[in-house]
């Protein structure tokens, strides 16, 4: 399952970052999207993309296309 499939309010644990191209992957990591991290989807933009997530106590926005490369498992 990947991050773009989560509904607002759902949380997931990041398993790995795959199928993302180098710079995007590195940028995600620099922003704290690293394996083991708990990430929560807060909102979807009014037009359906991008999404807002929270992790490490701050808010991040990313496009669904970028979120698709983040593999997660749903957390309760």
């Amino acid at each position: 399952m990947n991050l773009s499939e989560l509904k607002p309010g759902q949380k997931g644990r990041i398993l790995k970052l795959e199928s993302t191209i180098g710079p995007i992957r590195r940028r995600l990591m620099d922003m704290g999207v690293v394996p083991g991290e708990i990430i929560k989807v807060e909102k979807v933009a009014p037009m359906g993309d991008p999404i807002e997530v929270t992790l490490k106590g701050y808010s991040l926005s990313l496009r669904k296309g970028e979120a698709r490369g983040v593999e997660i498992e749903v957390q309760p």
Binding site: D30, V34, P35, A45, P46, D49, S59, E66
Partner: protein
């Protein structure tokens, strides 16, 4: 003045950590703003005395990491490695400790003495976050000073610490952080190799940083150090890969974040119960599925209104000053010393008008900068991009491209300067290239003149068609540029949504002032030069009676054949298009002068008094042009109303057909943006490349579109 050596302090930190505010609070008006060489990223510096020491602050661009990917990151790390400062002040957002410390850890790898400004500390405290600063200082081996840039607290402490650390740098090297046995062993292995084969590198680079970059196989470092990855011993890498997988760069990001997480467990305690923060509550409304877009549109309407309406009266005032009293005084002064007519005209219509045409832009640039900086500082800019990204991304742009393009409808120059909110240089350039296709306020008088004559019953519709034509072509050109100039770029929208904060008013004003000053000096120089040049074109040979005989008229005759297939191949039309490069609105003024010249010589002979002379100057050829430049942004229909245009209307009617009039309007919409836009692009991007590109492609596009309109219309039998 001082014999002590200066202390060079580099200030680094995440975006939104309050770095600018901190620097403004410390340095205030002593700040000097420039650009980093070759890029559009701003470089701020300030030098000042503090308790007997001379401190030079260098503000590094805000960045989240020292990866070699974004422009900001590359500038920061190149500076720190190539010109190591005496120490680094790392500005850290205390309310967002974990992500901010990720950069801290990387800065520590450089081995440069580090002082942490634990900023926004007051807000962290009021949120109930407890940070054990002294323990953090001890664990990391650096000084940690709580500060609040907005409240100006802790700043003296910070500077005092800076001086102390600079006095005994060796005692203040940050601790070497241990990234775990596997990583450390691999680093040892690489060190052995470097000592053997590349020992000279150790003088050029901080050792630990070099080893880490080699381990991460950082392409730019390997290249600069002249190391091919094949020549490296494979053993340290293989061992790591076996234990942790192939992605060593990822492993290191992980290791650093693990280090930070461990540190946060030690020094940070969060309150048990948490009330929804203000930011969350605001976002529930502002980013709401149904309210998000209406709120966004209302905000944009307000931004547009404030930027253009607020600055308009000031622009008018400057225009009246330079166009009236200034000229009058020059006339008097130059008259008393008996200066010849042509020098008076040069000073008035060339020099003063040139200065005036720069000054009239100041209010709108200031207003735009102020509100844009406010939107950024408050946190709404990121939300605006979040709301609009879907639509903008669909046409190959970034969510943040919307605001510059919107402002382009008021004034393209304002739009160009607003592109600075885009971080990625490619997004920035692409947006700027498309802004000239947004029909600005200065083009409206041209439409008004022509639709009034040829389409009196559908004037509104025709003008709308032109606006939409511009937008549609922007979409088309956007795609074309993406596929050609910017092929292979990785579009990204990974962006922090920072908490809402009230920006400091002083900081806003300082920033606005710096930008406005830059425009005046840098772009102003070009604009001024062109204005004087145009004076020569318009007025020489001196005393020319027939406009056809002036250099302008001759130039118009030369290029007129180019416009023949577009339906307006006359020297009159061509000449007015040439002057339209100063400002598109001048097209109308020039046409007035050519088609329906006013009999101004009578007044000159009978009434050489000052008050009357001002009027004369205003209707003189270039005087009319200057007036147009001056009223560039304010939907200038009203400004033109006073003039009696019946003679002009009749003449235009005789020279154009409805079809060629429409082709002409399309051409005016699209061809080369005015010189102020070109100068702004030159200044903003530090090269003529994109400014030239914009001028060239838009003119070609204008020709093609006008050609299609006219020839297509002829084929359809609309030529009559």
């Amino acid at each position: 003045m001082n014999n002590r050596k200066q202390i060079v302090v580099a200030v680094a930190g995440n975006p939104n950590a309050g770095k600018s505010t901190l620097i403004n609070a410390i340095a205030g008006s002593r700040l000097h703003v420039g650009n980093w060489p070759g890029v559009t990223v701003e470089k701020k510096e300030a030098g000042f005395e503090f308790e007997g020491h001379y401190i030079r602050l260098v503000d590094l661009p805000g960045c989240y990491s020292l990866s070699p990917y974004t422009q900001e990151e590359i500038i920061t790390r190149d500076y720190l490695v190539q010109e190591p400062p005496d120490l680094i002040v790392n500005v850290v957002d205390a309310t967002n400790l974990e992500r901010n410390l990720y950069l801290t850890v990387q800065l520590m790898e450089l081995g440069i003495p580090l002082v942490m400004a634990l900023n926004i500390y007051d807000e962290a405290e009021s949120k109930g976050l407890r940070i054990n600063a002294s323990q953090m200082a001890e664990t990391l081996g650096i000084a940690v000073i709580p500060t609040s840039a907005v409240k100006k607290s802790g700043l003296d402490d910070l500077l005092r610490t800076v001086v102390q650390v600079a006095d005994s740098p060796e005692a203040h090297r940050p601790k070497r952080l241990n990234y775990g046995e596997d990583v450390e062993n691999a680093l040892e292995g690489i060190l052995d190799h470097i000592l053997h084969s590349h020992a000279s590198l150790l003088d050029r680079y901080p050792v630990r940083w070099l080893l880490l970059k080699i381990l991460e196989e950082d392409a730019s470092v390997l290249k600069a150090a002249n190391i091919t990855s094949g020549s490296l011993p494979q053993q340290p890498f293989d061992h790591l890969r076996r234990a942790h997988g192939d992605d060593i760069e990822g492993l290191m990001a992980d290791a650093r974040y693990a280090m930070v997480a461990g540190l946060c467990r030690e020094v940070l305690s969060r309150p048990e119960k948490r009330n929804p923060e203000l930011t969350e509550r605001i976002d529930r409304i502002v980013l709401n599925r149904f309210l998000g877009i209406p709120i966004f549109m209302a905000a944009m309407w307000l931004l547009f209104k404030l930027t253009f309406d607020l600055s308009a009266p000031f622009g008018e005032w400057i225009k009246d000053m330079t166009g009236g009293p200034f000229k009058r005084w020059t006339e008097v002064v130059m008259g008393t010393i008996g200066a010849p007519d042509w020098t008076v005209s040069l000073v008035n219509d060339g020099v003063i008008a040139g200065v005036g045409s720069v000054l009239v832009f100041v209010p709108v640039i200031f207003a735009m900068m102020f509100f844009i900086t406010f939107l950024e500082g408050s946190g709404y800019m990121a939300r605006a991009a979040f709301v609009m990204d879907r639509a903008m991304h669909a046409i190959g742009l970034h969510g943040k491209s919307f605001i510059p393009m919107l402002l382009g409808f008021g004034c393209n120059v304002a739009g160009i300067y607003a592109t600075r909110t885009l971080e990625n240089p490619k997004d920035k350039v692409l947006t700027a290239l498309l802004i000239p296709l947004m029909s600005c306020g200065a083009r409206l008088p041209v439409y008004v003149l022509f639709v009034g004559i040829f389409f009196p019953d559908n004037s509104g519709t025709v003008i709308w068609v032109l606006y939409i034509l511009g937008m549609a072509l922007a979409v088309l050109m956007g795609f074309l540029f993406k596929k050609t100039l910017f092929r292979g770029e990785v579009p990204m929208f990974i962006m922090e949504l920072p908490p809402y904060r009230m920006p400091s008013f002083v900081s806003l004003c300082l920033h606005t002032w710096e930008k406005g000053k830059h425009f005046l000096i840098k772009a102003g120089t070009y604009i001024f030069a062109v204005s004087v040049l145009v004076w020569f074109l318009l007025n020489l040979p001196w005393g020319v009676e027939n406009k056809h005989e002036s250099y302008l008229g001759r130039a118009g005759s030369v290029i007129a054949p180019v416009f023949k297939p577009l339906g307006f191949g006359t020297w009159e039309a061509a000449s007015s298009l040439i002057t339209g490069v100063i400002a598109k609105e001048i097209v109308v003024g020039t046409m007035g002068e050519i088609y329906a010249p006013k009999k101004d010589d009578e007044g000159e002979k009978e009434q050489p008094t000052l008050g009357e002379d001002v009027k004369e100057i205003m209707v003189s050829f270039s005087g009319a042009g200057i007036k147009a430049v001056s009223s560039l942004f304010y939907l200038p229909i009203e400004a033109e109303k006073e003039e009696d245009t019946t003679a002009l209307n009749e003449a235009v009617k005789g020279h154009f057909t409805p079809l060629s009039a429409f082709a002409f309007m399309a051409f005016v919409l699209l061809y080369m943006p005015c010189m102020v836009v070109v100068a702004a692009m030159r200044q903003e991007f530090g090269t003529w490349r994109w400014a030239g590109m914009a001028a060239l492609y838009s003119t070609l596009l204008a020709w093609v579109v006008a050609f299609l309109v006219y020839q297509g219309g002829m084929l359809l039998g609309l030529g009559g």
